[in-house]
Structures are given as C-alpha cells and as structure tokens.
C-alpha cells in the first residue's frame, strides 16, 4: 500500500508543479539570454512563475500545433511564425531581435582559418545547421549567395559543402561539437559566441553583404484566453513590455543580438 501511495505522489507531483503563470516557448539560441532576462524580471515580479521552454523553433511550433501549453512564442525565423499565424494559433507577431551568422573556429586553428574561403581546405571538419531549422536555412542561403558572387563562386562553395561532417538540429549542438574539439569550424549565430562557455571559440565575421539577417519574431498564443485568467493575460503583456524595455534590449545587444532592427 505504501508503495502505491508513493507512486501516486510521484505521478502527481509534476502536475502540481506545472502551475506556472506564464509559459514561454523560445528558440534554443535564446536560452542563455532569456534565462538572464527572466531572472531580472522575477526580481521585479517575485510572484509570477515563469516557465521557459527551449528547443528548435520548428519543434516548438509543432508542439504548439499539437496543443502544448504556451503563452508566448519567440521563434528564430519568420517562416515558422507565419505558419502559426496562418493557422490562427498566434496573434500578430512583433519583431523582437535580429541576429547574424558568424564563423566559429577552434582557437588553435584561428591563424589558418581567416575567412570563409579557408573553409574549402581539404580535410577540414565543418558542422552546420540542418536545412530544416533556421540556422541551417540561413547557412544555405549564405552558401547560395556566395555561389552567385564571382569573388567566391560555386566551385568554392561545393568544396566547402564537401567538408560538412554533420548537420545539427540545434545551434547549441554545433557549439557543443566545437567545444568538444571534434570539429574544426561551424557556422552559428553571432550571439552564440557571447555565451560564457563559448568564449574560447574564435569568431570570424562573414562577408557582410552576403550575411543573412536572422530575425526573432515573438507572438502571444491565441485561443489560450478561455483557459487562462485575465491575470495570466496581463502577465504575458507585462513580460512582453519588459522584453522591449531599453534595459533588456541593451542586455540583448550585449549578448551579440541586433536590437532595434527593422524587419
């Protein structure tokens, strides 16, 4: 009997703990900075319980489509957000942040890898994002642009592509493989290298005219009103306002994001 009671408690505990006031679904590239932002928000609103949920934007969108309990969604690209907006799952999105791509290399290879052209060296181990996720689609866009430019050319791009050893679903996985030292270079967001643990990697900027601008739209999930109270609704608005406040925007900029960008 005691065992059954214990099992019941174990099963029910998470259900009780789930009573968060505000559940934010955000692209995994935002994990460090949003944790920091949320901490300072909670200093001002100690009673509000915020639950942050990080994953690839596509995975999050799918979860929202399957009815996951989100209040706010911050995506790392507009395509996913538009898809949710079209199916009426989110309200009109606002552009929160921008980001751009950067080449991240191991410190010991930095003297040899000075520009994107050096990625074509035979035997180099390159890891990029999967074309299905934002980081990967931006990278493919960059490659397509470089192939068009006579200064780089399609032959160079196909030599770079031959060096790809893995395509990751999450930008954090690219950084992790670099930090493990198992690959030589990766293409990630500029903000990823501002994280504490990634400081040891060297950032090499990419040709500005070909560097795609990533944008992070955010939106309130619609249709949650029936189940949530007016209080939760107000909390979502409060938190949104906090994200757009000058202090928070400065924090974003400090973490390598582009702020105040036009869409």
């Amino acid at each position: 009997m005691r065992i059954i009671r214990l099992c019941l408690i174990i099963i029910l505990l998470p259900a009780l703990a789930q009573a968060a006031d505000l559940s934010v679904f955000a692209a995994s590239s935002l994990s460090e900075v949003l944790r920091e932002v949320t901490q300072s928000y909670q200093k001002q609103h100690p009673d509000t319980k915020i639950e942050l949920h990080f994953a690839g934007s596509q995975a999050l969108a799918t979860q929202i489509e399957q009815g996951a309990p989100a209040d706010l969604f911050i995506s790392a690209n507009t395509t996913v957000m538009t898809r949710l907006q079209k199916s009426g799952l989110v309200e009109t999105p606002k552009l929160l942040l921008g980001n751009q791509l950067v080449l991240a290399v191991l410190p010991e290879l930095a003297p040899q890898l000075r520009s994107i052209k050096d990625l074509a060296r035979p035997g180099l181990l390159l890891v990029i994002g999967n074309r299905q996720v934002p980081i990967g689609s931006y990278t493919r866009q960059l490659f397509a642009d470089l192939a068009q430019d006579p200064a780089y050319g399609s032959e160079l791009v196909s030599r770079i592509e031959a060096n790809i050893v893995s395509e990751e679903n999450m930008v954090k996985a690219i950084v992790a493989k670099l930090l493990l030292g198992e690959v030589d270079a990766g293409i990630v967001y500029q903000s990823d290298l501002a994280a504490d643990n990634a400081h040891q990697l060297v950032a090499i900027s990419l040709p500005a005219r070909h560097n795609p601008r990533a944008s992070y739209p955010m939106a309130k999930i619609s249709g949650r009103r029936s189940e949530t109270t007016a209080k939760a609704e107000g909390e979502a608005d409060d938190f949104t306002a906090f994200l757009f406040s000058p202090a928070t925007q400065q924090l974003f900029a400090h973490q390598g994001f582009l702020t105040g960008v036009a869409p």
Partner: protein, 263 residues
C-alpha cells in the same frame, strides 16, 4: 476461495492496461499515415539513403558482435566465480547508460581529443562522424544485450552432451564448434535478427558520436528526428516505416527461434 479469483482478475486487469499502453501509441503511429504515403516515402531518395545507412551499419555491426559476443557469452555460461560476476556487472553498464551519455563517452574515448585520439590520429583514422562511428555505437550498445541472451542460451545446453564429446577425445574448441553451436544455431540466427532490430533503432548515441549527415551517417532514426523539424507528417510516416521494419524482424525472430528449450 474468493481471494485467488480477486488476484487473478487483478493480474488480468494489469496485463490489459499494460497491453493498451503499448498498443495505443503503436496503432496511433500506424494510423497517422496512409499506406500510399508510406509507399511514396520509400521512393524518396533521402529515405532510401537513410534506409541504406541504417541497414548497412546494423549489418556491419553483426560480425564483430558475434566475434566478441559469442566467446564472452560461452565463457560466462561455462565459468563462474568472482571474475564472472565482475564481467557481468561490466556488461550491465552500457545497458543502464543513457544513450546520450554513451555517445559522449564514445566521443571522449575515440574522438580526436579523446583518450585514444593521438593514437588514432597517428594511424590516420578519424572515427567520429563516419559510418564506422555508427557501427561502433551499435556495437557498444547492442553487444551486452546479445551476450546476456546468448549466455542464457548456452546455459540451456545440456552439459552431458559436451562432456561426452570431450570424453570421446574432442578438444574443447571442437566441442564448441561441433556440439554446442549446432545445438543452438537456430536460436543464434534469431539472436542475430534481434541484434539487427536493436541496432536499427539506435538514436541518441549515434547522433552524438556519428553526427547527422545525409547519405553518410543519417540513419532512419536520425532522419525521423530531422524530418520532425520541418515536416511532422513525414516524421510520422518514417516512424511507421521503422516500426514496420522492427515488427517484421520480430516476426522473423519468433519464426526462426525454436519454441522448445534447447536441452
């Protein structure tokens, strides 16, 4: 007289619930895509590539699994003592290791900054992000299970038959190859298929150690994970496909393995 009946109905109820718990998700997955959609998937180049990598890596892992696993299993079955118990415990380690941890551990052992990194670099062998890494991952995870089941198999072989062969002047090796192995050959064939089925489903260990690159290391499980990011419907279809393959292999096991015990 009442109590045993109560107990029997409790057993029946528990089994029924467990059966439903297993069947419900399986049926849901199979219902998520039509047979036409599944057939269409089979004709996609990307799916064919993933299917090929999956089968190839599992098949390539079979010979080393047998080469290392069979002697270990026979030894475990025929000898006892502290060393056996120690080896038994060692075999349990990969079984209880979370797949992600196994992947990390393999990277730390065979990666270029791993324990054997310098040694492997000297002979010019790079393991991570190759098909070899997929095979090693399968070997690491599947062999302990294989050894476990084969030990039980050898335990079931009548010792008197082996003793007779030894008395008649056969060497222990001859006894093993001419008496023991023929007795269990059908079971071993079933075990081979079982190992194949287990290798096909591997995910966490593979994605960490071997990366995710279409046509090189992307197995069906990794293709499902990748597809989930952009096209959940395709992920459902691929999932059903993988499930059908597993069901097919399991049926083959049931068909090949003799119903009666070996002795």
């Amino acid at each position: 007289m009442n109590r045993p009946r109560l107990f029997t109905s409790f057993l029946a109820l528990a089994s029924l619930l467990l059966g439903l718990l297993i069947l419900l998700p399986i049926i849901a997955l199979l219902l998520a895509s039509s047979p036409g959609e599944l057939l269409e998937l089979l004709f996609q180049h990307q799916v064919q590539q993933a299917l090929w990598i999956t089968l190839l890596s599992s098949l390539l892992a079979l010979p080393p699994i047998f080469l290392l696993g069979l002697p270990a299993a026979y030894g475990l079955s025929r000898f006892s003592g502290r060393l056996r118990r120690l080896f038994d415990a060692l075999l349990e380690l990969p079984m209880v290791m979370p797949p992600i941890v196994a992947g990390l551990a393999l990277l730390l052992a065979f990666g270029r900054r791993g324990l054997l990194g310098n040694l492997l670099a000297d002979i010019g062998l790079r393991i991570p992000f190759t098909l070899l890494a997929v095979v090693i991952a399968i070997l690491f995870v599947v062999t302990p299970y294989f050894v476990r089941r084969c030990t039980l198999l050898f335990d079931g072989v009548d010792h008197k038959l082996e003793d007779a062969a030894l008395l008649l002047g056969a060497s222990p090796f001859q006894t093993f190859t001419h008496v023991t192995l023929p007795l269990v050959q059908r079971n071993l064939a079933a075990e081979a298929i079982m190992a194949l089925a287990q290798g096909i489903g591997l995910f966490g260990t593979v994605i960490l150690f071997a990366g995710n690159l279409r046509g090189r290391t992307q197995t069906l499980s990794l293709a499902i994970y990748t597809a989930f990011e952009s096209d959940p419907q395709q992920a459902f279809g691929l999932g059903a496909l993988l499930l059908l393959i597993s069901l097919l292999l399991l049926t083959a096991v049931k068909f090949i393995a003799p119903q009666e015990p070996v002795r």
